[in-house]
Symmetry: C2
Subunit: 437 residues, 2 copies
């Protein structure tokens, strides 16, 4: 007898099926025992006689039974299999819990503190609402790849071990590499520009590492970076448009593939409009001043409060939860960002803000070798240590740009999670690698 999956049962009313999964919930009602069996597709209600009441929750079992339509008033609209239930005829146990669970997995909300949830990650990963987070994250990553492949981008694997601190900054992990020193990559930036110089349109899904010496709700030491880079652009706005269409595609795919997961979190995806509003930093500061009387004009960047302010203004005026802000002070951004030729003090970098926080960052890059070399020196880069990157630009690189965002941060943002650790299966920070260190 072939196995049937939980969600397949809804079209098999009147048939005998073999199901396999975990006993997530068990309820005894007189002579009857109700269990909710969970497999990789979801949960299904099974009804058996009271010998099943001996089953411990989280046992791995198989069930043979008949698929029955539920009476209309018993239909559960919140459950994909809520129209049917299984009349259990026989069952077999593969494995029973060896110990009492550290917390109850049977409730709709997993009511435990974050450290406990992470200390028992193998257990918390079984909870449907925790699983929903990672299903949505998988869709985000997958639709990032899908969209870019559809647009002629080529996937490459960026290295994790690097010879030097490429972008500057002290927040880097050192690796004992035989008798030498190496570092964990902070960003695939320089590698993706190298690969772009050969393949034209490239993307990568790779780990990056930040030795953040602080424990906040938004920082991790290891994250999944979603990176793209494209050559032969006509303007930085080509990069912005690609990023906009990508993010909209990602949101569409979440909506399409994860309606039940979104419902569990009772969240709406960010509202988008046909043309995402786009302001220069100066215009954004002026708008904040005009509308709210807060004078941030001349600041080198938007601070967190200004990010929230500009998002609120744009939301109210246009309905869009997204807004692009471009044109940051050149000297405040990395050496490879392209200065606006008409006003070189400001660059052609662009950030996408969503509901008050930065979601994605990108822009046009310098493609001329001499200009890049000049900037690298002015920014105090060790040009010997980035010679591979510089070499790529010696041999003819067209106008180009790209963008990047973190898989955990966007998952957190979409689901309105309070802490980025919830959006990471095995979060690493200054104090934790699986457990407190």
């Amino acid at each position: 007898m072939n196995r049937t999956l939980a969600t397949e049962t809804i079209s098999l009313i009147g048939q005998k099926v073999l199901l396999k999964g975990w006993v997530d919930i068990k309820r005894d009602h007189g002579k009857l025992t109700f269990i909710e069996l969970r497999d990789r597709t979801g949960r299904i209600q099974c009804v058996g006689f009271n010998k099943m009441s001996e089953l411990l929750t989280q046992s791995a079992i198989e069930i043979i039974g008949m698929v029955k339509a539920r009476p209309e008033k018993m239909v559960n609209p919140d459950m994909p299999t809520g129209t049917v239930e299984i009349d259990v005829e026989e069952y077999k146990v593969f494995a029973v819990p060896a110990e009492t669970l550290p917390f109850d997995l049977g409730k709709a909300e997993l009511d435990v503190e974050l450290p406990t949830l992470l200390d028992h990650r193998p257990v918390s990963l079984r909870h449907p609402k925790v699983q929903a987070i990672f299903k949505i994250q998988a869709v985000i990553i997958d639709s990032f790849r899908e969209f870019l492949k559809q647009n002629g981008f080529f996937e490459f694997q960026a290295p994790a071990i690097t010879p030097a601190v490429a972008e500057g900054g002290a927040e880097v992990f050192e690796v004992n590499y035989f008798d030498k020193k190496a570092y964990l990559s902070q960003s695939p930036q320089l590698y993706k520009q190298i690969v772009m110089s050969a393949f034209e349109r490239v993307f990568s899904v790779n780990k990056v590492f930040r030795a953040e010496p602080s424990v906040t709700t938004r920082h991790l030491t290891e994250i999944v970076s979603l990176d793209a880079e494209m050559g032969f652009i006509e303007s930085w706005t080509d990069v912005k448009d690609m990023a906009e269409n990508l993010i909209k595609y990602v949101f569409e795919q979440i909506e399409k593939q994860c309606p039940h997961e979104l419902k569990m979190f009772d969240v709406k995806l960010p509202q988008t409009i046909e043309k995402t509003p786009t302001l220069s930093l100066t215009e954004a500061q002026e708008m904040i001043f005009q509308k709210l009387g807060k004078d941030m004009r001349g600041d080198k960047d938007l601070n967190p409060e200004s990010e929230r302010d500009i998002c609120s203004i744009i939301k109210e005026e246009t309905g869009s939860d997204l807004v692009f802000v471009y044109g940051y002070p050149t000297k405040k951004k990395p050496f490879y960002v392209y200065p606006n030729p008409e006003n070189p003090e400001f660059n052609e970098g662009v950030d996408l803000l969503c509901r008050g926080v930065e979601l994605l960052s990108g822009g046009r890059r310098i493609n001329d070798y001499e200009q890049l070399l000049k900037h690298a020196k002015e920014w105090g880069m060790d040009t010997e240590k980035i010679k591979g990157f510089l070499e790529a630009f010696k041999y003819g690189v067209p106008p180009e740009g790209g963008f990047a965002f973190g898989a955990e941060r966007i998952t957190m943002q979409v689901l309105g999670l309070k802490n980025v650790r919830e959006a990471t299966m095995f979060p690493r920070d200054m104090e934790r690698i699986d457990y407190k260190i």
Copy 2:
């Protein structure tokens, strides 16, 4: 005028197009200059008057011209765009090389030594035959994911930074993690088993790190590991069958998506047959003894020569380039591998050999908590350091197994490359991180 891509021109005969790309090859013939322009889809021949002879190769340019059918005798069957050429009307240069190329990119074969090729990776990546390697690798990785998604597997992100040396062995890199010690992951094995215990069928595409203190043609310190794990199996052969179908799917997709790339390497994909031959280690040793008179019976594993021998015998007898060998001595393999209940000295681990080398490794794992704990202790594992892994098995885990293989190794194998560094964009070894260290 919208941009046209090189391979789109074949259906646009008689139309004026705008092309963008790099000048890969330039030939002067009297008054005419022929260039091969490369963009992300491939090369296209363009014919212009002799002012184009000033163009340096590898310049990034755009061309406006008319698509013309080539005369029949001028058709190039080895080139996807070999039926057409572009009559150049005008062109514009975006960027010219600032220096002479370190080697000639214009020949069909890139005739340089491997260290030179790697020292100038940004340049060698522009060569079509080098690009073919990574296009095939991208198809391998992508079809791995596609096949598993079609079969209900869920993608997760395995961590790179780990708290302990999980599988034993000294070949691990140490990370200076704030004021503590951490390690780079040698394998996502324990994490994929944890995630399987919640999601049932899981896979990951993640970096793993091996501090191999030797420089060989087959070893790298950083590789891309393709990992899968599945619960509710009935037997280890379910794992074997999944791996077999996966590998066949990967080969099919390479054949379908990369005919030109395969042709460049003049290679045939491994031959498969409907049921891949499957032998126990003992049977394989007996067969080698019977057919070749070499007595390796009783050896704990197949040595490289025996791997080649069994592959030759199977190829001759069945036509298959693939062969599964299962049932290794339990004590010689990691603690989590499932011992055959009828003969516990041998396990239910399985390797897939292809043309004389191991391509993939996997098998059934121990799913019973008590047995796993006993093995972990017998194998000398520090059970405190793998307590998360062990916890997963406390709460009901069904019979399960999985497999893994390296993206670089299979690319090397498919293309018959001599050195695994050719199958890695930015190979890391004891002596090299981008450059000699």
